[in-house]
Symmetry: C2
Subunit: 373 residues, 2 copies
C-alpha cells in the first residue's frame, strides 16, 4: 500500500482553555466524552484505508510522548517533531520529504488531529474516492469540501467550478429556513469537482449568499495528493521553503533527520498550505462530503455536538446541576462540582484552572487568561 | 498560672463546602485570607492570658495531626481526641476531667476554634475581667455576650438581668436605622452582668425586638468558669453524663486516658452545654463585649468580613475577575480562575471540588452535595 496519512498535531488550542493548554492541547483531549481523544479518533477514522506503518504524525517535540501514548501502534520514528511552529506548509513539506525517503509513489492524505467526524463509513468512502481519483490525476491537489448546513462564518469556503457537471446543483432545492438553520438538498452534488476559488472566512451576509448559491463548500483542511503532485506544487509556489528542505534532502529517513530539522526547520517561511499552494494552483479539486464534520473550534461548536440534559446543559464529570440552562459544565476526572443558577454559561475545570464565563463571550478567553499570574 | 483554655475543635463545618470538608474542617482554614487558620488565630488570641502548657484542644482523632500542625507549640497530650461527636457538654466534661488530674484550682475558658475576633486587645481585656470575677465568684458560670449590631437570626441571645446596675442601658440610644443595620450606643453596658435567660435563635421580628430592648446580647459560645464551678454544675444538671466520666476518674491524665475515652465516651448523652447546664443554672453571668466578633458561620458572614474590590467582589487566589459584582471567588493555592459575568454568586474551589451558586441559596449547599457521586 502506497497510501500515507499525515496527521498534523502541533496545535496548542488555547481556545479550549482550561481544558486545552500548552502542556495538553486539544488533540489529546476527549472533550466530547466519546472515550477517545481527538487524535485517537482521527487515527481510527483513517485506519481502514491506511496501514499503521504509513501514518506520520507531525507535532511539537513536547508532545511526542503524548502522541505515542494515544497512538501506541505507531513507532517513535513515525512521530515527526517540529522544533517550532511554522504553519501547515512547512509541516506538510517536512512529512513529504520524510515519505519521499521511503516511497516515491506515495499517495498522501493530510488531516488535522482535532476534528470531529460522526459518520466514519461515509468518511472512508470519500477518502477512497480521493485516492481513486489520484490514480488517474497525479497532479491533482484535492480538498475535502463539507456541504454546509448553516451560514457559518468560522470556516473558509470552497467555490466549486460550475463548468463541472457534478457541481450543478438544483438551486431551487436550497432553502433558507431561518437565520441560523439551512438545509440543502444537494444529492446531485457528489464525486470530484473542480475548485473555482478558495474563499476566506466570510462575514454573515456573505456566508448566507454562499449557502444560498449552492456551489460553496466548507474547507475542511483535509487534503489529498500524490507525493509527486505536492512536491511539484511546492517547487512552483514555495521555492523559498523548498530551498530550506532541499539542503537536508539526503538526511530524511536517516539518523540525521532530526538534527537537520532542529537546525534548519525554523528557516522555512511561516505560511499555510491554503495560502501558499491551494489558492495559487490551477490543479485544485474538491470532494463534496457530508459525514458529520466539525472542527470543534469553539466551545459553542462543542456545545452543538454534546449530549444535553433536559434543560439543555452539557455536563461532563461528577456534577450536580441545579437550575441551570444551556450551560456547559465540564470538569476533569477526579473532581466534583455543584453548579446552580446559570444560563448560557460555560464552567470548565482542568489541571488547576477554572473558567466560569458566558458562552457568548468565549472569544475573550484568550485575552482574559493573559491576566492570570 | 491556673488559667486553662479549652479549644473545641471537633466541628466538620460542611456549610463551607468545598473549602471545609470532613477531611479538612473550617477551623483549619484561612478563609479570610489573614494568613492564619481559625484555630491558629484562636490560640494567638488567648496566648497572652493562657500559658502554652495550659491549652487543651478537644477534637476528633482524625484531626489530631492537623491540630499539631497548626499549633506546633502544643504537646501531643494537649490534644484530646473524641472517638465520636457528642456535642459540647461531653466535650467540655472530658477536658475538665483532664484538667482536674493536673490542677484542682483551675480557672477555665472554653472557646470554639473557628470564630473571628478583630480586636484582640479588647478581647483579652474582657477575658481578664472574667477571670477576675471568678476569683470572688467560684460558682459563677459565665458567657461572653456580644453587643448586637443587627437583628441577627442566626445566633442565640442572652437576656441580661435588669436588676443589675451595669445592665441599665440608655434605651433611647438604641436606634433602628434600617431593616438590616442597627447601631447601639451601649457604652454603659459593661462589666459582668447577671443572665436573666438564654434565648434560642429568634425569628426576625423577635430579633428586632431584642435589639431594640437593649438588654439582649448574642451568645458567643465562649464560656468562663472555675473547674469546681463547672464540675458542681455537671453533677447537678447532667448526672447521667457524670456517671460515665466518673468511671474513668483515675484514668485521666494517665496512659489509660485514651483507652478509657475510646471505650466509654460514646456512652455519654449527646447534649449541648447551653441546654444541659447554662439554661438550668441560676449562677450564670455574662460579660457584654464588643471586640469585632463573628462566628463566620455562613458564606454570607464571610462576605461581610472579607476585603472587597471596587465591584464588591471578595477574591481569594490567582483570579481574573471580569464584570462580576458582589461575588465571592475563593480558590485554593496552586489553582487559577477566570470568572466572568456573575452577580451575587459564590465560586469556590478546593480539594478537587467546585461550587458555583447564588449566595442567597447557600443554605442548600448541604443538600446539594448529597447528590455528588
Amino acid at each position: 500500500m502506497n497510501n500515507y496519512c499525515i496527521i498534523m498535531a502541533g496545535g496548542i488550542g488555547s481556545r479550549f482553555w482550561p481544558l486545552s493548554k500548552d502542556n495538553f492541547p486539544k488533540q489529546f483531549l476527549d472533550i466530547l466524552g466519546t472515550g477517545k481523544s481527538f487524535i485517537r479518533s482521527t487515527y481510527e477514522r483513517f485506519s481502514p484505508v491506511i496501514p499503521d506503518e504509513n501514518f506520520l504524525v507531525v507535532t511539537n517535540k513536547a508532545y511526542k510522548h503524548l502522541v505515542l501514548e494515544h497512538l501506541p501502534m505507531l513507532k517513535p520514528d513515525q512521530v515527526l517533531c517540529e522544533p517550532a511552529r511554522r504553519n501547515t506548509a512547512p509541516c506538510i513539506a517536512y512529512a513529504a520529504y520524510h515519505i519521499q525517503s521511503r516511497c516515491k509513489e506515495a499517495n498522501i492524505v493530510v488531516t488535522p488531529a482535532d476534528h470531529l467526524v460522526t459518520n466514519e463509513v461515509e468518511f472512508q468512502r470519500i477518502i477512497r474516492i480521493g485516492f481513486d481519483f489520484l490514480a488517474n490525476n497525479q497532479n491533482a491537489l484535492m480538498t475535502i469540501g463539507i456541504k454546509p448546513s448553516r451560514p457559518e462564518t468560522g470556516y473558509g469556503y470552497i467555490q466549486c467550478g460550475m463548468q463541472n457537471a457534478e457541481c450543478r446543483m438544483a438551486q431551487s432545492e436550497v432553502g433558507l429556513r431561518s437565520h441560523s438553520e439551512f438545509r440543502i438538498h444537494n444529492s446531485e452534488f457528489s464525486g470530484v469537482v473542480k475548485v473555482e476559488r478558495f474563499k476566506e472566512k466570510p462575514d454573515y451576509e456573505t456566508a448566507v449568499k454562499f449557502v444560498q448559491e449552492g456551489n460553496y463548500l466548507w474547507n475542511s483542511g483535509i487534503f489529498l495528493w500524490t507525493l509527486d503532485g505536492i512536491m511539484q506544487a511546492f517547487n512552483q509556489y514555495l521555492p523559498d521553503m523548498i530551498e530550506v528542505f532541499e539542503k537536508g534532502k539526503n538526511d530524511f529517513g536517516t539518523a540525521n533527520e532530526q538534527a537537520f530539522i532542529d537546525a534548519h526547520f525554523i528557516e522555512s517561511p511561516n505560511i499555510s498550505i491554503d495560502y501558499g499552494v491551494m489558492e495559487k494552483s490551477p490543479n485544485t479539486y474538491t470532494i463534496p462530503a457530508d459525514f458529520g464534520w466539525s472542527d470543534i473550534g469553539t466551545w459553542g461548536s462543542l456545545f452543538t455536538h454534546a449530549k444535553k440534559d433536559e434543560n439543555g446543559n452539557a455536563k461532563r464529570g461528577n456534577v450536580v446541576s441545579i437550575d441551570n440552562k444551556n450551560t456547559i459544565i465540564n470538569i476533569e476526572e477526579g473532581t466534583e462540582a455543584v453548579v446552580e443558577g446559570l444560563e448560557d454559561y460555560l464552567v470548565a475545570y482542568r489541571d488547576h484552572s477554572l473558567l466560569v464565563c458566558k458562552l457568548r463571550d468565549e472569544q475573550q478567553i484568550k485575552v482574559w487568561i493573559e491576566g492570570l499570574k
